[in-house]
């Protein structure tokens, strides 16, 4: 008898779900909204004067846990500033082994390498998945994510004392009226620019709140 009643309850659940809207996102036709911090594929940027930002400092090559970035560079005089700096001769990033750890982006001191919001297109041969320098510079046209080296570093810095906002020991997320679907505006600075002593002071009321 228990079987029967519970079975009827289970039937009720499935019946209820018939009324719910399907959650399927039919991928190639519909593309799910991608978060600001979404990470796939890479691009190399140029600065405002059209100069390559990357100087071939090897920081990303060294940090990469999968060791898939390879480059060579030569020192030349910059046509814009006239100073001597490195220029890439060759730069490859083998996407077949990338684990999207974002470390290469984080360590780049010149914000040269960044990540894209559109995934790399699948290919028929392995070579299609190797991002060459040309492809990386082409990718800069595609929508980029929020992150670059400076911003990621800034986010992890200890908060600097900001005198103007000293009187606001409110938890930052609760105060920010941002539309739900878009968590971070593209250019938002690292949140939590709140005074240092807040870490102790702000938590006190919260602790009593918790039952």
């Amino acid at each position: 008898m228990g079987y029967l009643l519970d079975s009827i309850r289970a039937l009720g659940v499935t019946a209820k779900n018939i009324g719910r809207k399907p959650v399927t996102v039919q991928f190639p036709k519909v593309i799910r909204e991608r978060q600001e911090r979404y990470r796939t594929s890479f691009a190399l940027l140029k600065d405002e004067q059209g100069e390559e930002r990357c100087v071939g400092c090897l920081a990303c090559e060294r940090i990469c846990p999968s060791q898939i970035i390879h480059m060579s560079s030569t020192k030349k005089e910059s046509p814009v500033t006239g100073k001597k700096r490195g220029y890439l001769d060759d730069f490859t990033l083998d996407m077949t082994a990338c684990i999207f750890c974002e470390l290469c982006v984080q360590v780049c001191p010149f914000d040269a390498i960044v990540m894209l919001k559109v995934p790399h297109e699948p290919g028929y041969v392995r070579e299609d998945l190797v991002l060459t320098m040309a492809k990386l510079y082409e990718n800069a046209e595609k929508p980029l994510t929020w992150g670059n080296g400076t911003k990621l570093m800034e986010m992890q810095e200890p908060p600097k004392p900001a005198p103007a906002q000293a009187a606001a020991p409110v938890p930052a997320p609760a105060a920010a009226p941002v539309p739900a679907a878009v968590p971070v505006p593209a250019a938002a600075p690292a949140p939590a620019p709140v005074p240092v002593p807040a870490s102790a002071a702000a938590a006190e009321p919260a602790k009593t709140e918790a039952p």
């Binding site: 228990g2 009643l5 519970d6 309850r9 289970a10 009720g12 659940v13 499935t14 209820k16 779900n17 959650v23 978060q35 600001e36 911090r37 979404y38 060294r62 940090i63 990469c64 846990p65 684990i99 999207f100 750890c101 974002e102 470390l103 984080q106 360590v107 990540m115 994510t145 992150g147 570093m153 986010m155 992890q156 810095e157 200890p158 908060p159 020991p169 938890p171 930052a172 997320p173 105060a175 920010a176 009226p177 941002v178 539309p179 968590p183 971070v184 938002a188 949140p191 939590a192 709140v194 807040a198 870490s199 102790a200 702000a202 938590a203 919260a206 602790k207 709140e209 918790a210 039952p211």
Partner: protein, 395 residues
Amino acid sequence: MNARHPGPTSDRYRLEQMDADADLMVLNFGPQHPSTHGVFRIKLILDGEVVVRAIPYAGYLHRGVEKLLERLTFAQGVPIVDKNDYVAPMTNEQALVMAFEKLLKIEVPRRARWMRTIFAELQRIASHMLWLGTFALDMGGALGGGSGVFIYTFRERDYILDLFEMVTGGRFHYNTHTIGGNRHDIPPGWDREVTKVLDLIESRLPEYEAMSSNNAIFVARTKGVGVIDKELALGLGLTGPILRASGVDFDLRRDAPYHAYDELKVNVATATAGDCQARAQVRVAELRDSIRLVRQGLAGLPEGGINGGKPIKMPQQFKTMTGQAYVGIDTPRGELGTFVVAGGGDKGTAPYRCKIRAPSLHALSALPWILPGHTVSDVVVILGSLDPIMGEVDR
């Protein structure tokens, strides 16, 4: 070991001593089998449909993570471990990062610790959701009610992954923890999203329970099946929900607090029966408690910096030649421990040895004890109730 569990090496299960006419059949269960949760093989010796002896074989998913961690520096190692327990990557990172922090003596800021708590508990919800789905799948089949529960829980788990994506940008490879804190701060408005998702999950939880853990068929399939008693559980070093379901009131979150658990109250769910039903009940209770913990964590989230160490700039920036550290944390599957010995790599930039204690491996070691006497149908249920993740077992 005791009367109820004679143990795989006892005479009762010696093949040579078995009746030659008993018509035993060897059934290789896995590694390609729909319900071995990955690539896992159990050699079942059957008498009819009843298991006489079970010999588990692990190692089909070995990727040499521990060796890899010796080769990579401290700074590079963190993203590698995401794939160990691929159902709960957050807690993997945390376990490794905390061991490194202890070794390198780096203090984690309070905000980062609270954030880690929230992540860990959200991950627990996601992981237990997936477990409930796959457990029902084991019992109801891919072409039946089980897949219904599976898809419901998967749907809700996806919302949690969306939350993680908002913070870290990844749905699986978060790499959001770094030695000394977190890499990504919580974006504004995130807590409202979390509350929304939690409300949704909480309101729909009774539905899944009606289809699975509270259902009479579920109870009939799980009650009294695969009993692990206290003695066996302790003897095999089982941890997490499996241990708590066997009547041992032990939870690292409460008994050896890390993260922000010293400031939050963790309700440890226990059961005494030690069977599959008890394990299911403990996990569902934990699910509810985690929802509460996330809410509390969000309410009490302090301000401040998120990184106590230096942000990663280059691979060799963390160095130590001396010391060793062990940190165990309570992941959805039990105690995930990381033991590191300093002094590897180039002048101590990497661990000399890094051993990961995977709770699933210990859970699987119970199989030879508890499978004999059950039918093939129960094998699936018992295996599912242990919630093994092969990536973690084989590493």
